[in-house]
């Protein structure tokens, strides 16, 4: 048991950036094709990252790099906890910690676009946080444990059977987490936007590269949560879960290319409404069937 944990954590730490980077590359390729263009090479994200590493080292103050480093570190820790099968809430809180580091890094630069980006990022966090917690609560109610190692081996089958609403809600907020249109408010990976580069305006060179890597880690971890909904402890379940993860990712790309960027009001209204309707009703049903029936 212990051995598998160590292996999966190490596998995560090594493979996640590779898979995450590839996914990002595929994302860019598919997006380009959807826009009628050829698009970059699939390895482009890696080129970008190495390029950033090679650039001259500049920063706007001495504190920023520390915060960004912490961001990356705790994102890795988050994923590590996740793949070690630890408590889901612990994982979520660590993720929050990591995200706060990113925001703090942006705030520390005291620069307009970074600050507004940080403010919007914060708003996005406020928007998706309830749904994330509800997701954890839902998984807990269905599987009776917060431990991820228990959640992936549920006793009564795939969690999604009981949590269709929560699953949809989670996919909804994934759009925010993946920084996809219509909710790429605080920074967008490609292209230019009204906030210049938002949150990342003041990060250059290596610092920016770290952020890219962190995003790859984060994306894999988020797909890991999608995985939880499908996994049922069997091999075919795992395969199905991976397929669902990929389909989810594709849908996110499609959404990215099919929507205008919305304003923050919509971001918070819609995600809270989703959390209240899908999340709440789903929970209500579970509570009802669990405690009343």
């Amino acid at each position: 048991m212990n051995m598998t944990i160590i292996i999966s954590v190490i596998a995560y730490i090594i493979l996640a950036p590779i898979v995450g980077g590839l996914l990002a590359g595929i994302d860019r390729k598919i997006s380009a094709r959807m826009q009628g263009r050829v698009g970059p090479s699939i390895l482009q994200p890696f080129y970008d990252m190495f390029k950033l590493m090679e650039k001259e080292a500049i920063t706007v103050n001495k504190a920023q790099d520390f915060y960004v480093g912490c961001f990356l570190f705790f994102i890795i820790v988050t994923g590590g906890f996740f793949f070690a099968g630890l408590d889901l809430l612990l994982v979520i809180f660590t993720l929050t910690l990591a995200s706060v580091f990113l925001i703090v890094a942006a705030f520390s630069s005291n620069s307009p676009y970074a600050q507004i980006g940080a403010e919007r990022e914060l708003l996005q966090m406020m928007a998706y946080e309830p749904m994330v917690l509800i997701t954890a609560a839902g998984l807990y109610l269905v599987t009776g444990s917060f431990n991820i190692s228990d959640i992936i081996n549920p006793e009564n089958g795939m969690a999604i059977k009981f949590l269709p609403g929560i699953f949809l809600g989670f996919v909804f907020i994934l759009t925010i987490k993946f920084r996809k249109s219509p909710f790429d408010l605080s920074m967008s990976h490609h292209g230019h936007q009204e906030l210049v580069k938002g949150l990342t305006t003041e990060f250059a060179g290596k610092t920016m590269a770290l952020i890219e890597i962190a995003h790859w880690y984060e994306n894999i971890f988020l797909l890991g949560i999608v995985f939880l909904f499908i996994a049922n402890g069997t091999v075919w379940g795992a395969v199905a879960a991976v397929v669902v993860c990929l389909v989810t990712y594709f849908i996110e790309i499609l959404i990215d290319n099919s929507y205008a960027r919305m304003k923050w009001q919509i971001a918070i209204n819609s995600s809270w409404i989703v959390a209240i309707t899908l999340g709440f009703i789903n929970m209500l049903v579970i509570y009802f069937s669990k405690f009343v029936l």
């Binding site: 500049i58 929050t96 910690l97 970074a114 406020m126 309830p130 210049v196």
Partner: protein, 639 residues
């Protein structure tokens, strides 16, 4: 036993001394010495009863009872007088109802009930005493420097510092009494004293606003007091006991009348803990000098309310109407106050709302009434007391050095006052970030809510914590912002203040580090006693020991990381991006009409979404409906 007496009476002596000896030097010595003694005594008390865990004392003494009654009457007369003088007749009316009822009860019923144990010590009260003794007294030390500055800033007002310190110390004594009394009448007595202390301190500056707010606080607390009195009357007349432990025991055996008593006491607790619909008094209390806010209105006095509710927790829970009332009121208060905090830029108001919200969380935990919830509640009390007082004091210092308590004016504090900013960063992080204290307890609370709280409470906590995240992080953002070219004014900070702030900061971190220990040696044993029907072996805590260990390790990492890496970069420092119009100093850009426009970066407040008024109205209506509903049902049961 003697330690207890010391803890209750010694502060009183200091108080009188402070009132009499009016020079700065004498005050300094008295405060520092008494603070040390009280702190030492509280630690000694903890040490004394550490192994024993719980002990009850007779301490029966008719003169004490008589003395209390006399004081009560005097106080009532004073309130009635003040109420009339300031045309706040409601206060007079409430006092005129409360005290005569109490005296009538004493004479008719109370007199005949034999109280075996007037005082007691258990692990919960030890925790409370430690908070009062250490945090409380250290705040009074801080107040020395602060009040000097304060007087400096308010030269127009007469120097009333002797009175101020008198009340502060009086309060410390009363607070100790409150958490150590087993006799509910005594408890009530101390309860009223703290109400009055708060009243005087809120009205300290004697401005119109201060007086209005102090009366609002008084009236609301007296309302709770009325509830308290009725509870005592019912308790005495139908249960025939005046002892808290008896009451709880009876409750567990299902004596029906206990429900009423519990509901009424919980109501009193709700008023004192400034839960909605009574939260407005705490907000108003922010006019008081900052040490007051730190001591009374965040770390201790308001905790009296939640202390009582936590005490009663075994009687609450879903099976009791009182429990449902308490958890709903707590839950609603948590979410609404958290939302309202988003729209505030006045640092003290943010802290006040956050206090209300956290008390709401504790109250809700008490309302759920399971051991896991209570575990979370007690942890919340501890962490909140330390961290909040730290934050309040930081704001006080900031205010005196930069001239504003508005968060938006704390621009570039990291450059101007690096130490203070660091304390604040620690304090703010401790309020909501992962391995630190408050989050641990919030996590436990969340688990308790999911397990026993029902869907609604889960929603409350999910949304409430999202808002919490928002308002703390944006404040944190202001703190970390590094603004080049600002003058460093850290050295202007008073030495005492600095000492207190650093102590509290260290304390915050230490408590976060040793909380598994606190849980193991203090809270769990208390829970085993308080929930005798739960098999200790099956007591699964919200946080498994693995999780606690991970938390502590994470915290270590978080302490080590900055020491190793913070600011260690040899990168080239370049100017910030200002759309190509940076004038070079990172603070101004070339604006329209060729003006040099200073950049100004402010946070979001989202008035439209989280306006204070709106949140209060919703919260008040919801809680009023719940409270009146519950009491209506209870009353219906009686009739």
């Amino acid at each position: 036993m003697s330690t207890i007496t010391f803890l209750i009476l010694f502060p009183l002596l200091s108080a009188i001394a402070l009132l009499v000896l009016r020079t700065d030097a004498a005050r300094g010595v008295i405060v520092k010495v008494s603070a040390t003694l009280i702190a030492v005594a509280s630690i000694y008390l903890a040490y004394q009863y550490f192994g024993i865990g719980e002990e009850y004392f007779d301490f029966a003494n008719e003169t004490v009872n008589l003395g209390m009654t006399v004081i009560e009457v005097l106080l009532a007369i004073m309130i009635i007088y003040l109420g009339i003088k300031y045309k706040k007749y409601l206060a007079s009316v409430l006092a005129a109802i409360q005290t005569p009822t109490m005296i009538w009860f004493e004479v008719k019923v109370g007199h005949h009930i034999h109280v075996t144990n007037n005082l007691y010590v258990d692990r919960l009260s030890i925790i409370m005493v430690l908070i009062i003794g250490i945090i409380g007294s250290i705040i009074t030390v801080y107040a020395l420097g602060y009040m000097k500055d304060f007087q400096h800033h308010h030269k127009d007002q007469p120097d009333r510092r002797p009175f101020f310190f008198f009340i502060m110390y009086l309060f410390l004594g009363a607070m100790c009494g409150l958490v150590l009394s087993n006799n509910i009448v005594w408890l009530y007595f101390f309860w009223e004293i703290t109400t009055l202390c708060s009243f005087f301190l809120i009205g300290y500056t004697k401005t119109e606003e201060a007086i209005n707010n102090s009366f609002r606080a008084l009236i609301m607390n007296l309302l709770g007091g009325v509830g308290f009195v009725i509870a005592i009357v019912i308790m005495g007349s139908s249960l025939g006991t005046l002892e808290l432990n008896q009451l709880i025991m009876m409750g567990m055996f299902g004596v029906p009348a206990v429900t009423y008593v519990a509901a009424l006491l919980a109501f009193a607790g709700i008023t004192k803990a400034a839960q909605m619909p009574f939260n407005s008094w705490l907000l108003g209390a922010m006019v008081a000098p900052t040490p007051t806010s730190a001591l009374l209105h965040s770390s201790t006095m308001v905790k009296a309310g939640v202390f009582l509710i936590i005490k009663l927790a075994p009687l609450l829970g879903w099976q009791s109407l009182a429990g449902i009332m308490v958890m709903m009121v707590g839950g609603i208060t948590f979410i609404m106050a958290s939302f309202a905090a988003v729209s505030q830029s006045n640092a003290k108001k943010v802290l006040a709302y956050s206090t209300v919200a956290n008390l709401g969380l504790i109250v809700a935990c008490g309302g759920i009434g399971t051991y896991a919830a209570v575990w979370a509640g007690i942890l919340l009390i501890i962490f909140h007391a330390i961290t909040k007082s730290l934050l309040f004091l930081c704001v006080g210092t900031a205010e005196h050095n930069i001239g504003s308590r508005d968060i938006e004016d704390m621009d570039g504090l990291f450059t101007r006052m690096p130490k203070l900013a660091t304390y604040m960063i620690v304090g703010i992080s401790a309020m909501f970030l992962a391995p630190l204290g408050m989050l641990v307890s919030k996590w436990a609370a969340m688990k308790a809510f999911i397990d026993n709280g029902g869907v609604l409470l889960v929603m409350f906590i999910a949304f409430g914590s999202a808002a919490t995240l928002f308002y703390w992080t944006k404040w944190l953002g202001k703190m970390v912002a590094i603004m080049a070219n600002r003058e460093n004014i850290q050295s202007g900070v008073n030495k005492d203040e600095n000492f207190v702030l650093s102590t509290l900061t260290i304390l915050t971190v230490i408590v976060c580090l040793i909380f598994p220990l606190i849980s193991k040696t203090m809270i769990v044993p208390y829970l085993i006693k308080a929930f005798p029907y739960v098999d200790p072996k099956h007591m699964i805590l919200a946080l498994s020991s693995t999780n606690m260990t991970i938390m502590v390790i994470m915290l270590f990492v978080l302490i080590v990381l900055p020491i190793l890496f913070f600011g260690r970069t040899n990168k080239k420092i370049v100017p910030i991006y200002l759309a190509g119009a940076n004038l070079g100093d990172d603070l101004t850009f070339r604006g329209a009409m060729e003006k040099e426009v200073p950049v100004s970066l402010k946070n979001w407040y989202m008035e439209g979404y989280f306006g204070e008024k709106k949140m209060n109205v919703i919260g008040v209506i919801a809680t009023v409906v719940i409270i009146t509903g519950v009491f209506a049902i209870l009353l219906g049961g009686v009739l």
